[in-house]
């Protein structure tokens, strides 16, 4: 049976035409109308099927490079001919392929996504070429990204491995092992396709259904919570707090606290991966030698709520950002809605906010 539901809730300010459909193969597709000159179409594949280990560290990233070159990479040229772009990324939440194009070119975007998802054989030359690209990519990684990665491994050990991967390991990856990983990732029950722009949501939903119903479904294992280590030694200039699912009350408090702290730090950075299980919010500064956090949580409460509300709202008001934020949540669970996070932020109590600030401070002890 085809399940479809309007996510817009009567009686709230969220009256944007938006249709989420769960196809018979388990794939979640979402179409949302938003006034804009361009449209964004994205596919998200959650990281939970085919969890990486030390032996397959970075396979999803390598596969992302390989998949993005579907049909010899000809899609990039077609998309760029209209001033559009195809981007690919592997994060802790999953692997994504994200297209933005003038709205008249939506069929091109959907054809491109379908081509990317089509399994094909991988050659060892491809592996070498893309592993070499990742080796070069590693040299350009920002210092804050590397520090965030360090915090994750301190908190979660091997389950907190950086999805970027190990370039030396990737250079020797066997095509067959990568092929297996591809098959595991291509699990419609852990995938989402999102289209946001000035579109007819019913017509686009029908197109998505026709185009992507053929992806074979596989078993969908429940997401296992990752095991927390007794983390010590968070690097200088960084503070960490744990979150639950994006729709947990605690997550709202930690987000608000982290953003408020970041706004008071010089040259600050902020990192949050909205994972359905446990995750981390990491806030820090690129200044060396700073471990003090001299601030009054009470004084930051209103600011923190405002910053968190604005951050989530910003993710929902632009076609590209909205397709990405909803896609990364829906691929993990078809019931995850950012509006719940927004409601939790708006209802955040002062006590919960102060507790979250204290957790950040406590991460240095």
């Amino acid at each position: 049976m085809l399940l479809a539901c309007w996510l817009a809730l009567a009686g709230t300010s969220d009256d944007i035409p938006r249709l989420r459909t769960i196809l018979p193969n388990g794939l979640t597709v979402l179409a949302e109308r938003m006034p804009a000159a361009y449209v964004s179409a994205q596919v998200w594949m959650a990281s939970t099927p085919g969890q990486e280990t030390a032996l397959t560290h970075g396979y999803r990233h390598l596969l992302e490079h390989i998949m993005a070159r579907a049909d010899g990479g000809r899609w990039d040229a077609q998309i760029e001919a209209f001033g559009g772009v195809l981007e690919a990324e592997t994060s802790r939440e999953g692997t994504s392929f994200r297209i933005r194009l003038p709205k008249s070119q939506l069929p091109l975007a959907l054809n491109c996504l379908a081509a990317i998802l089509r399994e094909r054989s991988i050659s060892s030359d491809e592996v070498k070429r893309e592993a070499r690209a990742i080796y070069n990519e590693a040299a350009l990684r920002s210092s804050f990204t590397k520090r965030v990665s360090l915090a994750w491994t301190k908190y979660y050990g091997e389950q907190g491995l950086d999805p970027f991967g190990d370039p030396d390991l990737l250079a020797n990856a066997a095509p067959k092992s990568l092929q297996n990983m591809w098959s595991q990732m291509l699990n419609p029950g852990r995938m989402a396709i999102t289209v946001v722009g000035d579109i007819d949501v019913d017509a686009v939903s029908d197109q998505l259904k026709r185009k992507f119903s053929g992806i074979a479904g596989g078993p969908v294992e429940p997401v296992k919570p990752i095991k927390l280590l007794a983390a010590t030694g968070v690097p200088t200039g960084m503070w960490v707090a744990k979150t639950g699912s994006p729709v947990d009350l605690k997550t709202a408090a930690v987000l608000a606290a982290g953003l408020a702290i970041g706004s008071q730090l010089p040259d600050s950075f902020f990192s949050y991966s909205p994972l359905i299980g446990q995750s981390l919010v990491i806030v820090g500064t690129n200044e060396d030698g700073t471990d003090r956090l001299d601030l009054d949580p009470d004084d930051l409460y209103e600011l923190g709520k405002r910053l968190a509300h604005r951050w989530v709202e910003r993710q929902l008001k632009d076609p590209y950002l909205a397709a990405a934020f909803r896609g990364r949540l829906l691929a993990q669970s078809s019931g995850l809605r950012p509006e719940i996070l927004l409601e939790n932020i708006d209802g955040l109590s002062r006590v919960d906010f102060v507790t979250a600030v204290d957790e950040f401070k406590g991460s240095k002890r």
């Binding site: 990479g73 001033g83 070069n136 920002s142 210092s143």
Partner: protein
């Protein structure tokens, strides 16, 4: 947002103030461009330190107060080759707050010393950071800023929903109430030791294109040479020769106009011989451009300047290229005004659409006629 721009000279010793009046949202933005005088070319650490400390604000607007006004986005400040750029957007407050903050940042910044910064690594780092391994003293930092502000040519642009002349009037009021008391400063002492970035890089700079020259031809050739996976650099430098992971061609702001720049980075040192080979291959590609290549670049430019496409023909700082947002447009306006002309996206697009293939090819070939510069990471 842009309704019209006016140019007003505040005072004989003051900066040039420009206004962009409009109503895209209810916020106010400003951008300031300060030219770095040539005699400060070898003053890296003190100037870089001042720019790093600038977002701490002023006595009136400290970091916390700025966060309240602009939802935590703060003030951004960075250097290009020979300009300092300051930018901020306010979501609440008034044009008076925006002018007071800009005035304070330029003439009365806190510049209170803090811990030494870790230099960030990343794609654009070698371009915008003035690299030095020496930590300057507090007085050196203050003197460098004083010297810059006193000697540099300054252009400030204010944008937002306010009445024509309002920002100029507030600025004039601040000058009258607290006349600038900047004492002459000696030329700051040079650094001596450069600091090298963590990434190997190579670039090739073409001649600076003045606003009166064919900036659109330079923009279109930049997009064809080095923006996107269809570009010559991606296909040849990365795919064919395996020389780099990231490679771009773009226009880079200079006081006299826009400098065409090809830029690539690699985990390994880049051999000069291979770069010469790359140049030969690129010249051959340029000769083979056709009408569909030209059309692609024109489309990319239109999407970027008039809508919100990602392919920017220029790089203006550590964040890279620009989008068609109020925050980016105001920096482009400040940079354009410092070059003596207003920023007019519609005119640039119209002129780009009338370019011939031969004109664009000639611009690219002229650019590629220059020599490579190579820097090696941590030698």
């Amino acid at each position: 947002m842009i309704s019209f721009a006016i140019l007003s000279l505040v005072a004989s010793k003051g900066p040039q103030i420009h206004e962009l009046l409009g109503s895209e949202g209810s916020g106010f933005q400003f951008a300031a461009v300060i030219a770095i005088p040539p005699e400060m070319d070898d003053v890296c650490c003190a100037l870089q330190e001042a720019v790093r400390l600038l977002p701490d604000g002023t006595a009136l607007h400290r970091r916390r107060a700025i966060a309240d006004l602009n939802n935590g986005r703060g003030v951004q400040a960075w250097t290009t080759s020979d300009q300092v750029i300051i930018r901020a957007s306010l979501d609440s407050g008034s044009i008076t707050d925006a002018v007071t903050l800009a005035y304070g940042l330029i003439y009365r910044p806190l510049l209170e010393p803090r811990e030494e910064a870790e230099f960030s690594s990343g794609w654009y780092t070698p371009l915008w950071q003035r690299l030095s391994r020496r930590q300057p003293s507090e007085s050196e930092t203050r003197d460098a800023w004083r010297y810059l502000v006193r000697n540099g040519k300054i252009h400030v642009v204010f944008g937002g929903p306010f009445a024509a002349g309002q920002s100029v009037s507030v600025w004039q009021g601040l000058m009258d109430a607290e006349p600038m008391t900047i004492r002459p400063a000696d030329r700051p002492r040079p650094d001596g030791f450069p600091r090298f970035p963590a990434v190997n890089a190579a670039w090739l700079d073409g001649g600076v294109v003045a606003p009166s020259d064919s900036v659109p031809a330079a923009m279109v050739s930049a997009l064809l040479l080095g923006q996107g996976k269809s570009s010559v650099l991606y296909r040849v430098a990365r795919e064919e020769m395996g020389l780099s992971y990231r490679q771009e061609a773009f226009l880079w702001p200079r006081p006299a106009g826009w400098q065409p720049r090809i830029y690539l980075t690699s985990a390994d040192p880049i051999p000069v011989a291979k770069l010469e080979q790359l140049k030969e291959r690129m010249l051959a590609e340029v000769s083979g451009w056709n009408a569909s290549d030209l059309n692609r670049a024109q489309q990319m430019l239109t999407e970027n300047l008039l809508r919100n496409g990602v392919w920017s023909p220029w790089v203006i700082g550590p964040a890279g290229g620009t989008y068609n947002t109020a925050e980016d447009r105001i920096v482009l306006e400040a940079l354009s005004q410092s070059n003596g002309a207003a920023y007019d996206a519609n005119s640039l697009v119209t002129r780009a659409e009338s370019l011939t293939l031969e004109t664009v090819q000639a611009a690219a070939k002229s650019w590629l006629g220059h020599d490579w510069q190579v820097i090696t990471a941590n030698p």
